[in-house]
């Protein structure tokens, strides 16, 4: 109905010629658009997991910081679940409700461990670990505790420690610090090491002491040379063909011979001692008889003494036996 001669024709995106089979082409275009939109919606539903059966897992934690609806729960790096809702329980704990597709639920066992890790980059992640895959599978609606691991929680302590370390380093590297003084000493030491006396001069401090050390070493060298010549002479005297060792060997042989002779002499002495033992036993018997004999001799002697005493009394020129007091 539009006027083909109007200026509209030059401004609208309208072809100059009438379109052949316009209705059919427009219908095909509409069908194409409908298929495109329907395909996109179906793909979105498929990607959202609308066509696969799911089971629910409830994770209990005391802090849901970083947990958002739609985030993944991974097992060995593979996403096997998706957070559907995060809610606060009556007890004050946080309930993280996760949809796990039934085909992926076989990785979750009653002994599985769940962690909530807050990374430095990439936000929070929920991970599942199943050590024993032979344990009973996790039932639908199971409530499991989740362990918290916060990489940023340590940051404060790490920063504090790092600050202390930096302060220590700052003190060490200060102009009047110990490190500076040590480096100055090291520089002085290396300059001494480069000096004519080298390490000895650096160790002893003065040139004179270093000279003494050198002299002492030279004297020690001469002493060692003399000791070496003495040792050579000693070797010749001791171990040489006319050395002491040969005489010593002969002496030892003679000593062995003498010892053999001494052993024979001792055997003879042993026999003598046996005889002496017999003699001594005879003497012991004789000594018993000597007791009686001695008693007789004593009796006779007493008698003789008595008789002499009697004679003395009766004898006229007997000695004066009186005792005269002063």
């Amino acid at each position: 109905m539009e006027d083909p001669n109007s200026p509209v024709q030059s401004s609208e995106p309208t072809p100059r010629r009438p379109v052949q089979n316009l209705e059919r082409k427009a219908a095909m275009l509409l069908v194409f658009t409908a298929l495109l939109v329907a395909g996109a919606v179906l793909y979105l539903l498929f990607a959202r997991g609308a066509f696969e059966p799911k089971q629910t897992l409830v994770l209990l934690t005391d802090n849901s910081e970083g947990v958002v609806v739609g985030m993944d729960m991974t097992f060995s790096g593979f996403p096997i679940g998706r957070v559907r809702r995060v809610e606060l329980a009556e007890t004050g704990n946080v309930r993280i409700i996760i949809d796990v597709p039934t085909k992926d639920a076989r990785w979750l066992r009653t002994t599985s461990v769940f962690t909530l890790v807050k990374g430095l980059v990439g936000g929070t992640s929920i991970r599942a670990f199943s050590g024993m895959l032979t344990d009973p599978p996790l039932p639908d609606g199971a409530e499991m505790p989740v362990l918290n691991g916060d990489a940023t929680a340590e940051m404060q302590r790490v920063l504090s420690t790092a600050r202390d370390v930096l302060e220590n380093i700052s003190v060490l590297t200060a102009k009047e610090g110990d490190l500076h003084a040590t480096l100055a000493n090291v520089r002085e030491l290396t300059e001494k090491l480069k000096g004519p006396r080298g390490l000895a001069g650096a160790a002893l401090g003065s040139e004179a002491d270093a000279q003494k050390l050198v002299t002492a070493i030279e004297r020690a060298n001469s002493v060692l040379a003399r000791i070496d010549s003495i040792a050579a002479k000693t070797d010749a005297q001791v171990f040489g063909p006319d050395g002491m060792m040969k005489d010593a060997r002969a002496s030892v042989q003679q000593l062995n011979q003498m010892l053999g002779e001494a052993r024979a002499s001792l055997k003879k002495v042993d026999a003598v001692l046996t005889d002496a033992q017999g003699i001594s036993s005879n003497v012991r018997d004789a000594t018993v008889d000597l007791g009686a004999l001695r008693a007789d001799v004593d009796a006779n002697l007493h008698k003789i003494e008595g008789m002499i005493n009697e004679l003395n009394r009766k004898w006229p020129f007997a000695r004066d036996t009186e005792v005269k007091l002063p």
Binding site: M1, L22, K25, L29, T33, R48, G122
Partner: protein
């Protein structure tokens, strides 16, 4: 003389905000009227159906191939930039999600809307202004036809349809190109790619995406038509109508984009 000119200037300056508000109100009212007419089966008479089919085909089909090629090229370049940058920073696991978010959620619908506006709806609005100026609408009314139903509604609906079709097609093309850009020519990554896609398009994000596309299509269709149909501001010339439509449409697209970003990320 001087006094009267000064009073006119003051009057003009003082009424500017009111005329600005009135212009927006007229656009809103026009858009609502078009939606009501589009939802009413009695609007689709034989003349309207013919015009609608012609505009749907003429406004969409010629630009479909070009825009698909353009969006594929854009997707390829941006995917490459994002992937290489992410790998260089050791953040390659976030590259795919970023590509989907940047391209499919944000850039492609906006590009489709702008492309349809520049190629179809702004020239259509200018054509309506020309028809109105040349008295073509009066000719239609004398012939017993409603110019809104036979001239305006088909153009507006064709603009909406073109925007939705181009956005859908370019999103699909962008998804395919992004997959090949990230995983290469292999089908090994389809599962993880689908998973990432599903994670990005949460129900809220999907709803915002659909609303954004719908409002983009409405904005690029209704505002140029309204600017061409009414003397909202200016002297009613064809260039002025096109310029007004362009400025107002860009402003609305900007606001919609900001609102969608706020809805997605806050």
């Amino acid at each position: 003389m001087m006094t009267s000119i000064s009073w006119q200037s003051v009057s003009h300056a003082g009424s500017a905000p009111l005329r600005w508000l009135a212009g927006w109100w007229r656009i809103l009212f026009f858009g609502a009227s078009l939606l009501v007419l589009a939802g009413s089966p009695s609007s689709y008479g034989r003349e309207t159906r013919q015009a609608l089919l012609r505009h749907i085909y003429v406004d969409t089909a010629p630009i479909l191939l070009w825009f698909t090629t353009l969006s594929a090229l854009l997707t390829l370049i941006i995917t490459r930039i994002v992937v290489v940058t992410a790998i260089s920073y050791g953040l390659s696991r976030f590259a795919l999600e970023m590509v989907i978010r940047v391209l499919v959620l944000e850039l492609i619908p906006l590009t489709a809307a702008l492309f349809v506006a520049l190629r179809c709806t702004i020239p259509n609005g200018a054509a309506l202004a020309e028809m109105r100026r040349s008295g073509y609408f009066e000719q239609l009314q004398r012939a017993g036809q409603d110019p809104i139903l036979t001239a305006v509604l088909p153009r507006a609906l064709a603009g909406i349809y073109a925007t939705v079709t181009l956005a859908a097609l370019s999103c699909v093309v962008a998804l395919v190109i992004a997959y090949f850009g990230v995983y290469g020519f292999s089908v090994a990554g389809i599962t993880s790619y689908t998973h990432v896609f599903g994670r990005v398009f949460s129900p809220a994000v999907s709803l915002i995406f659909l609303l954004k596309t719908a409002f983009f299509s409405l904005a690029v269709s209704v505002i140029p038509m309204a600017s061409g149909l009414y003397d909202i501001e200016g002297d009613g010339s064809r260039e002025s109508a096109a310029l007004q439509g362009l400025v107002r449409m860009f402003a609305v697209l900007l606001v919609l984009e900001i609102v969608s970003l706020a809805g997605n990320y806050y």
